[in-house]
Symmetry: C2
Subunit: 463 residues, 2 copies
């Protein structure tokens, strides 16, 4: 197994500073394993730099000694993007001591946070300034700014507020040769040459280490309404979405499509939930936020989803959202499944759900498709349950074939095989198989130009 | 003067096809000159490819014969980005025959347009689908999709809808080695590796030729209100903006700060205008669009800008916007000026306007600062009139020193020396002088990796 030379170890520890490293096996072990228990490669050293200069020193030492750097934030990713890979002497670089919120500018609606700041803390700092940071996801208690930027995180408010890319106004990062990229100015408009920071957003640490970001905040909407609507089909859900857009414009915060039995499944497996609308073919969880929104929402629901529930209190609204958030946990308890994170052109979602669902369930007898997600973005978490009794052995045996079928159909319909989770290590082969060759060739040329020794998070993104 | 060899000329004409080229001097001459009459280099050949395959063939021929390609769209840019530069054998590539709108998807709120489609035509196609494309600028009758993407165009709706980058969901381009980048899928979420298309947005043609884009449309807002408000200072304008945000959330479409005498200047020089609010220290042109907006706008104006005019008809709204749009023309007639297109962190705008205005007018006796622009984005068109009688000779003599002072102060306050116009050829020296060294080095490394022969629009962006 590739490991660090004593010289490399000494140089890296020196760069990280006296309190900046750990070689303790118990500390490191959980950092080599992702949430499903998978491990890929090894590392015997964890660095915890405090400050950007220490990150630069570490990168320079890694270059000098040909050591791979694996950046780690909250380690909430789902694609093995924060794991070292076999065959490379690797060091883990945790951003946990880059944890300062450097500035909050309420006039400019911006906040500058270091890479290790947890999303919850960003929300709290925005709220303290009478504003909000409109990007959220279930892992908000551990996911960090650096990871959110590096994976271009999505979540439930993308429909209105965009992915992390849309929320990043400025970026500070250490590039693979140790130079500092200083694009931290929180400017809405800045057309001064190739926008290098855009390349780092979603690069999963392969082009450098994000050390801080200037984030765009938003005003707190005066009103907010949450509803749970029953519809006959994904196509009917799209009609509801169009009607809602006509009525309240861009004030639709979330529009989540769920199987009709999703809430029942949550109620079955997770205590404290009940199905707000039993027996509907499909459900949509809607949040609208802004001004003058109630009449438009009510009219759209009356016309397109008469079977619906509008929350009349914050507690009811929270209960509806809690169902959505408990879904992954309920799914896990329901049984083993092959999971996908896909996106499609929005208008193609109904056809995809109908056709590919039938094809999967025909091709894999007894398997059951369970698809839910952010319909407004065309993003589905498209999961396929093993046949009764199949369990994880079935998933192990048939998973790759299921995935190949799903991904092939996605690509044929001009969709994406990774909407929001990224590629990391686990999906690199599928990206190499299905990615646009022109895009892959350009990406590899850029990687070679900026990181010729492949120091930064190797084995990710099919680079 | 560098010119094409007969072999190069033959290969390029062949690649462009029988109707795809012109060597007519009268046709080419205006394409070598920008709107202020400046010329840099020369070209004797204009190519007009029809279709992406022809663009690829041209790029391959250019690589084989070491010919520089200068892409041209509507040629409405202000920084010489579409001019050939001296010392290189160059060919002009016009996108005028890539002029098809390939698809409009009203459900998905997307439209796919080829590079040569004019912005007006995008607006019309969106309107025909009951939607809108919320990016506009004065040159909308000639500016093309390819140019808008390549310059990451801004305009008067960035506050709410972002720059062109935020409106581009997908991109098709020919890279500098002739390979096709096919990222045209109109997906709101797509995290599949380095997002190469982001690098082409704002690259001013230096990394390839944009051939088509998938653009994000938006619903037509149910209501729209336009107002002209008098305020005491930029700081007071920011207070009005904050109050308005609190009242109507993100439904503020435009928030344009103008000198108090701007409308009077327009009325003086351009027929058909009158000053809606004579004698105010500063004016703000506001557009709010959405639902339930009137009470919030009225309350914010009553509290922070009691001296204001709200348009009560479409004609009145149009008249207010016409003043804003006539401003560049009025400025030109008012006298010679040194012009800048800067952005600052929003909260820094009042201090910049006060301090730097005084410094410029003290350092250059008789000069007068005239700054207006998109306050909500921190973007000012910061122009300095020559002293009375100075004229363009003064601008010629003192322009560089004025610009150096303004740009130095911008950079010191973490602003940008090009907010929306880009760098092109004219600002390349200033970018080289003031740009972040880490960003410039990375940009140059990427340019060398993707375009080692410097075929694509050389002499731009300080690459």
């Amino acid at each position: 197994m590739a490991d660090l030379s004593p010289e490399a170890r000494a140089a890296l520890c020196d760069a990280a500073g006296p309190d900046g490293w750990s070689a303790d096996a118990d500390t490191i072990a959980p950092r080599l394993t992702e949430w499903r228990g998978r491990t890929l490669g090894h590392s015997g050293l964890l660095l915890r730099p405090q400050g950007v200069a220490a990150v630069q020193a570490i990168v320079r030492a890694a270059v000098a000694h040909r050591v791979a750097i694996v950046p780690q934030g909250g380690r909430t990713g789902l694609v093995g993007g924060a794991l070292p890979v076999p065959g490379r002497a690797s060091v883990l670089l945790s951003t946990e001591r880059l944890a300062r919120i450097r500035a909050v500018d309420a006039d400019g609606l911006t906040l500058v946070a270091e890479a290790g700041v947890v999303l919850d803390a960003v929300h709290a700092a925005a709220a303290a300034a009478g504003l909000r940071f409109p990007l959220s996801l279930a892992a908000r208690g551990s996911a960090t700014v650096g990871g959110l930027v590096s994976t271009n995180a999505g979540g439930v408010q993308v429909l209105r507020h965009g992915t992390m890319r849309a929320r990043v106004l400025g970026l500070e990062a250490v590039l693979p040769d140790g130079t500092l990229l200083d694009q931290l100015g929180p400017l809405a408009k800045d057309n001064t040459g190739l926008d290098i920071k855009q390349l780092l957003i979603g690069a999963e640490g392969t082009l450098g280490i994000v050390t801080a970001a200037a984030l765009a905040l938003a005003p707190v909407p005066p009103e907010r309404i949450v509803a749970w609507a029953g519809v006959d089909s994904p196509a009917a859900a799209l009609m509801l979405l169009a009607a809602l857009r006509g009525a309240v414009g861009e004030q639709i915060e979330s529009f989540e499509l769920l199987p009709g039995d999703a809430a029942a499944m949550v109620a079955r497996h997770v205590p404290g939930h009940r199905d707000p609308l039993p027996g509907v073919p499909r459900a949509v969880l809607i949040e609208v936020a802004g001004t003058g929104i109630a009449p438009g929402l009510e009219a759209a629901l009356a016309a397109h989803a008469p079977d619906s529930v509008v929350a009349t209190s914050e507690a009811q609204a929270a209960a509806l959202w809690a169902i959505r958030e408990a879904l992954p946990e309920a799914e896990k308890r329901e049984g083993a499944a092959v999971k996908h994170d896909i996106s499609l052109p929005v208008a193609a979602v109904p056809a995809f759900v109908a056709r590919v669902g039938a094809e999967v369930e025909t091709s894999f007898a007894g398997a059951r498709v369970f698809a839910f997600g952010h319909l407004g973005d065309g993003n589905l978490h498209y999961n396929v349950f093993a046949p009764p009794g199949g369990g994880s052995a079935w998933v192990e045996a048939h998973g790759p074939a299921v995935t190949r079928l799903v991904h092939d159909r996605v690509v044929a319909m001009h969709g994406s095989i990774s909407a929001e989770h990224g590629i990391g290590a686990f999906k690199a082969d599928e990206l190499a198989r299905l990615g646009d060759p022109g895009k892959l060739a350009a990406a590899r040329a850029i990687k070679r130009a900026l990181d010729p020794l492949d120091i930064m998070n190797p084995g990710k993104l099919a680079l």
